[in-house]
């Protein structure tokens, strides 16, 4: 089958970020796969979407975020049930050899899972994507101040939740 070179480039440059973002958002590998595929199918069908886009990464995260929101809305109650069983879901962090480090990463994944999805998305984009609040605001289609406040709230919750673990491995 003939491949679109532009699509391959987009995948190679952005798939990792989108995967991490979606995995952190959905905490489900299968959903992450479906959503990532949905984003690239959309790009393949409508290549004009990227015309005039200044920040590809932010734009693609926006597409992925919208797709994830749609999925959650479609699922409705089922997704809320899944939220209550966050421990069963996949961590978005790589596995560590050191048990203490692995415990911290597991705790961090659990703490992130307890955040509301909106805060979780902002915290992920700020900490692991290194986006500015302006970029986050553009990606998630929210005001910049909202992005900043969500980040602060989310980070405070993470700190409270992780304090014992953090102090232990510090």
């Amino acid at each position: 089958m003939r491949r679109e070179p532009e699509l391959e480039r987009l995948y190679d440059e952005h798939a990792q970020s989108l995967y991490a973002f979606l995995l952190n958002f959905t905490r489900d590998k299968s959903d992450t796969h479906d959503l990532l595929q949905e984003v690239f199918v959309k790009l393949a069908r409508q290549p004009e979407l990227l015309g005039g886009v200044r920040d590809e990464r932010a734009f693609l995260i926006r597409l992925a975020h919208n797709a994830a929101i749609d999925l959650i809305r479609r699922r409705g109650t089922r997704e809320r049930v899944k939220d209550n069983f966050a421990a069963e879901t996949i961590s978005s962090f790589a596995l560590a050899n050191d048990p203490d480090e692995q415990a911290f990463r597991t705790g961090l994944a659990g703490a992130l899972a307890e955040l509301p999805p909106d805060q979780r998305a902002v915290v992920h984009l700020k900490l692991w994507e290194g986006l500015t609040f302006e970029q986050i605001a553009a990606a998630l289609d929210i005001p910049q101040n909202t992005a900043a406040s969500r980040y602060r709230y989310g980070l405070d919750k993470l700190r409270d939740r992780l304090r014992p673990l953090y102090e232990e491995i510090k």
């Binding site: 679109e4 595929q37 199918v41 393949a44 069908r45 911290f104 980070l155 993470l158």
Partner: protein
Amino acid sequence: MNHDDFEKRLQRRPLRQVPAEWREEILATAGQGAKVERRAQEQFGASSLVSRLSAILWPHPVAWAGLAAIWIFIFTVDFSMRENAPAVAEKYLPPPAEVIVEVRQQQRLLVEMMGSGQKGEAEAPKLLPLPRSERPFETLTA
């Protein structure tokens, strides 16, 4: 715990890598999606042409049908006239020289016969001399 220190500590945690096998699968599916989209656009192009035409013709269908009938009639008449044209042309072609010579011989024979029956009553009509090229062989050698 220091705010910046905490953030840096979190940032250092590496994220899970996207499974390598997903690349092929996702790009193949996306490529297929692009092909389906292109086909749909081509079909849409054809159907939009039809819908545009029907939008133009729909307000007065009888008038357009009448116009089409007139054009069909014009083409039919034109075509049938073209078919008849060679026959008409053939009809008005001058008769061949042999026929003319034969007719004139017949006329001469008739005059001679009439002349032998009613001598002196009527003079045979004077025949115009034929061009040399049209004279029969016997006439020329006599």
